[in-house]
């Protein structure tokens, strides 16, 4: 069994914290894992992506082959669309719905969301608004992870919650609670 996840976003949005939680959960569950990251110049307001591969068997390539991602998990709707060629035929897209506009030629928002909604399995939510409503504005990425938990077959929601506890433990009990609250809101929001 395997789950290949394409993580996407704009530099500074926190996709690597999502990867850290998934990595922790996978390690605790005894899964094989490879995670290719992007560092360096591309972090500065540009598009960033990370390939995260989880499996019960040995994983060879650090990069996900085209057409094999089970999930595109994106902090930004246009960035979700960027990786469609990697999405498996039955793959899911879970994305934040609010555009991050820092380029002059950003596409028309309505057309962009309409294109997203044509995909067979897509879930989108204004995760910033949800996190703000919960008074945990810095945990929007955990709202997204909660939404994605429905599509990460290889890890259970409880395993992900456990990893959130471990990863954020050194930042204190309040931060752990904030992130769990955000995760649960994302998870329940799309049931």
């Amino acid at each position: 069994m395997k789950t290949d996840i394409k993580l996407a976003g704009v530099g500074g949005q926190g996709i690597l914290s999502i990867a850290t939680v998934l990595g922790e959960a996978a390690t605790a569950a005894g899964l094989q894992l490879k995670q290719a990251e992007v560092h360096g110049m591309s972090q500065r307001g540009g598009d960033v992506q990370s390939d995260l591969r989880l499996s019960t068997e040995a994983i060879f390539s650090d990069q996900i082959p085209l057409g094999e991602a089970d999930l595109i998990l994106s902090m930004e709707p246009m960035e979700a669309l960027r990786y469609l060629p990697w999405l498996a035929p039955d793959g899911a897209v879970v994305t934040a719905s609010k555009p991050f506009v820092n380029i002059p030629n950003y596409p028309d928002e309505a057309a962009l969301l309409a294109e997203l909604d044509q995909l067979p399995k897509v879930t989108r939510m204004d995760i910033d608004a949800v996190a703000k409503d919960l008074a945990v504005p810095r945990s929007a990425n955990m709202v997204l992870l909660g939404m994605a938990a429905h599509h990460i077959g290889i890890l259970s929601p409880d395993e992900l919650r456990g990893a959130i506890r471990t990863v954020f433990a050194r930042k204190g009990a309040q931060v752990v609670e904030d992130n769990l609250k955000a995760f649960d809101a994302g998870y329940e929001g799309i049931q």
Binding site: A36, M41, G45, S61, L81
Partner: protein, 529 residues
């Protein structure tokens, strides 16, 4: 039981080196190699042992200091991105002629596809050029395991060993099983002056000895546990370093496979592979280094394919898709690219001082239609992109000042150089001295953000010393200015730029303001305390 940790390839190299008894790491930051040194800088064992790990001024100073530590009998590591090999080549090549005492491992992290680089040169050519062994791990575990092998090999053959990484290994994470740390070597400086004083008489002997050692290096490659042949029928595949992973990801049944992770190339194993196969496909990331040598080894009649015949793309990194295509495997039916999609290039941070520098230049230079702006390597290279579109060249570390000088020599005026603080100490100081000695009519903007920003905010070698350095190199006091790049100071900055463009000699303007990223990080750390 061995303890497993999730590590980047870079971090696995760092931990492997520490556990092999490392005494010092010498490096200049460069993507994708930076995390090796950063890992050692924060590692508890390294701190306890006092492993030397501060950043160096450039790759050449790094290589020479590491050679000095090796001379003293201890194990030393040098880390850099691939283009750093160009900077340290003099020291690297001659370290093979002197040879080493304590193990000396040089890590070059190549960047095929140029994710953060200006070329995709393949460091294996440098290893072969210098006649030293090369190791090329394929995964994170091998990154760890090969470090102890590399140091041992270096001490056994008394040569530097080159370890080659690529971006996808440096910056990919996987579980790594670590062993127990070995002790450091004792201090034991070498006494053999005839090895270390490379006067022609000594150098001739040393070089002859280096050439004579090659059959031993080859024998070690043939017997290395890192080079493994499994035989099948029909197609024979040579997979080098990380290429092995892509091959294993898509490997068709029954083919023969030679995994190559140690060089010089194991020629006997390649001949065996050729004997059991009807043709050979070479899969390697970077340039067709192995492919050319295999062709030479097997002769023109033996069919060899790879990057040279178009079976694999001639440029760019490997991935599971282009490797599958090289095997003739059908690709999956793909979704078309999205319609509502625009490129999102990186950009200078909001509030960054470099922005104010380019805003000022763009206010002044329209009045000088013949002006040219020579850029350099750093965050500020992004000034080439909209909305600034403010620089005309960017070639290599330090080239801004020297190219501006050469263009000024030819008659270009105004000739402006834009260089960052860390790039200036890396390779710009000698350029400035040339310009001063020639009284070249150039205006140098030394944009100082008090850090090596592009690679994530490492210490910059000359922080708080730039005025003193410029004066000492002979820049005249009245043509050296320090300004604070903020919108409120725009009038002052543009006035100074205008005045200095009119001066027919070397002017240096230092816009000085801390990087937004390091400033924010310091504030976060303060808040956390």
């Amino acid at each position: 039981m061995l303890q497993k940790r999730l590590l980047l390839g870079d971090e696995a190299v760092a931990l492997g080196a520490l556990h092999a008894g490392l005494s010092g790491v010498y490096a200049y930051p460069g993507t994708p190699s930076t995390e090796i040194t950063e890992y050692i800088q924060q590692d508890p064992l390294a701190r306890e042992r006092g492993v030397r790990s501060r950043w160096c001024t450039n790759e050449k100073t790094a290589m020479e200091a590491a050679l000095g530590m090796s001379y003293a009998g201890k194990r030393a590591l040098v880390c850099m991105k691939h283009v750093g090999m160009n900077v340290c080549a003099d020291a690297f090549v001659n370290a093979a002629v002197t040879g080493v005492k304590g193990g000396l491992v040089v890590v070059a992290a190549d960047d095929p596809s140029m994710h953060s680089s200006q070329n995709e040169q393949d460091s294996r050519f440098y290893g072969q050029f210098a006649l030293v062994p090369i190791l090329e791990p394929s995964d994170q575990q091998e990154c760890y395991d090969m470090m102890s092998d590399a140091f041992r090999l270096s001490e056994e053959v008394r040569l530097p060993v080159l370890l080659r990484l690529v971006t996808r290994l440096s910056h990919s994470r996987a579980a790594v099983a670590a062993g127990t740390p070995q002790p450091e070597n004792p201090l034991a400086p070498d006494g053999e002056r005839t090895r270390w004083v490379l006067l022609p008489g000594n150098a001739k002997r040393q070089y002859a000895a280096l050439v004579e050692r090659q059959p031993d290096l080859l024998r070690r490659s043939e017997n290395s546990r890192h080079n493994r042949l499994t035989t099948g029928r029909g197609l024979g595949v040579i997979a080098c370093g990380i290429a092995y992973n892509y091959v294993r990801e898509v490997l068709p049944e029954g083919v023969s496979l030679l995994k190559v992770s140690q060089y010089p190339l194991p020629a006997a194993q390649i001949r065996t592979l050729a004997d059991v196969s009807d043709r050979i496909l070479v899969v390697e990331d970077g340039q067709p280094f192995v492919e050319e040598r295999v062709k030479a080894l097997l002769g023109a009649d033996y069919p060899v394919s790879g990057r040279l015949d178009g079976s694999l793309p001639r440029t760019g990194e490997l991935n599971p898709d282009n490797v599958a295509a090289a095997f003739g495997l059908p690709g999956a039916e793909l979704r078309p690219k999205a319609l509502n999609l625009a490129p999102r290039p990186p950009q200078l941070c909001q509030g960054c001082g470099h922005r104010d520098v380019y805003a000022a230049l763009n206010r002044v230079l329209p009045d000088y239609p013949d002006a040219r702006v020579f850029g350099d390597i750093g965050c500020y290279t992004l000034g080439a992109l909209p909305p600034f579109t403010a620089i005309d060249t960017c070639v290599d570390m330090g080239a801004s000042i020297t190219m501006a000088k050469g263009a000024a020599d030819a008659g270009v005026h105004p000739a402006v150089a834009v260089i960052g603080d860390s790039t200036f100490t890396h390779s710009g100081m000698t350029s400035l001295l040339d310009a001063v000695n020639d009284k070249a009519a150039i205006t140098v903007i030394l944009s100082d953000n008090l850090t090596t920003a592009m690679t994530g905010g490492q210490d910059s070698a000359g922080t708080h010393k730039y005025e003193a350095i410029c004066l000492a190199l002979g820049v005249e006091r009245e043509h050296l200015h320090v300004v604070v790049p903020l919108p409120k100071n725009m009038e002052e900055i543009t006035r100074i730029i205008r005045e200095e463009l009119e001066y027919k000699g070397v002017s240096v303007i230092i816009p000085q303001r801390e990087c937004m990223q390091t400033l924010a990080r310091k504030q976060r750390q303060k808040k956390a305390q």
